[in-house]
């Protein structure tokens, strides 16, 4: 029988889909980190002497920008592994 689906099966299927949708949050940090890296590269091009400082500032900013994407990851992991209704 094709439609032999219980309620908890449905919940699991929907949370898998939701987890997939949640990690779309990774787009934002990707764009943001790319912009930071591009500006870092142009800053090094303008002032090669300050490469170390530019690098550390860029990595710090990128790591902070990464946070929103990681929130998406946390939501996805919660959806996959925490099943309060089972």
């Amino acid at each position: 029988m094709l439609l032999d689906i219980t309620g908890s099966d449905l919940i699991r299927a929907c949370s898998a889909i939701g987890a997939g949708l949640a990690v779309i949050a990774g787009i934002g940090p990707g764009v943001g980190q790319g912009i930071a890296a591009g500006h870092g590269a142009s800053a090094v091009g303008r002032n090669p002497g300050a490469q170390g400082q530019i690098m550390s500032t860029m990595l710090l900013g990128q790591a902070v920008a990464e946070t929103t994407g990681l929130y998406g990851l946390v939501v996805a992991l919660l959806l996959l592994f925490v099943h309060p209704l089972d």
Binding site: A63, V64, L70, L73, V74, L77, D86
Partner: protein
Amino acid sequence: MNSAILLSADNIDFMIHELIPVNFFGTTVYITNSHICIAIVMLVILGFGVVAHIKLKHAKEIPHGFQNVVELIVELLGKMVSGTMGKWAPRFVNYISTIFVFILMSNISGIFGLRPPTADYGTTLALAIITFMMIRVNKAKHQSAKEIWTNVCSPLPPWLPIWAPINIISEIAVPISLSLRLFANVLSGTVIMALVYGLLHFIALAWPAVLHVYFDLFSGAIQTYVFCMLTMTYVTQACTSENDA
């Protein structure tokens, strides 16, 4: 773990396991594997500290060998703190260096097969709450009540506190975002390594070392630096009153 969708293969394991039940005022709590890992990390750091203490009792004018390493670590940490905190550095350098070494050792303990203690939300939330308390206490110590109230109503004048709830929420969000950032970064590395070793275990030969270098060493070091940097920035901001500037 029958409830997890992903675990169709049984050998994927990145969960926190409850090992030893302990009766704590009538409730049963558990010693988990992250407690064990945190104890191992702490023992390693303590051992290093004791050895350094004994060795530096007869320190020489010209450093040599082990003394060189210890001096390098202390100097690097001191330079990092004084570069960010300026005149407040001497008061906070001990605490910042401590959490730096602890978080760094926790993050890279994934290489040695432990489950990183920072991949447990309890650890990172505790660290972030310490930072939050430091911010609050230093604000109360260094800024007058009027100044704090003006800051809370920040873009609008102090007699019109419409903006205050939003500012209060953003200050409560500081420890949450600090702890979740560290936790999620380390956890993502742990999950990916568990997936590699669990699903690809018959071809996982030598090449996962590259992933270990990225997820444990690089990402762990960056996140340690970010956590300490943000703590220092927030505490310096809390210490600086507008009157002295």
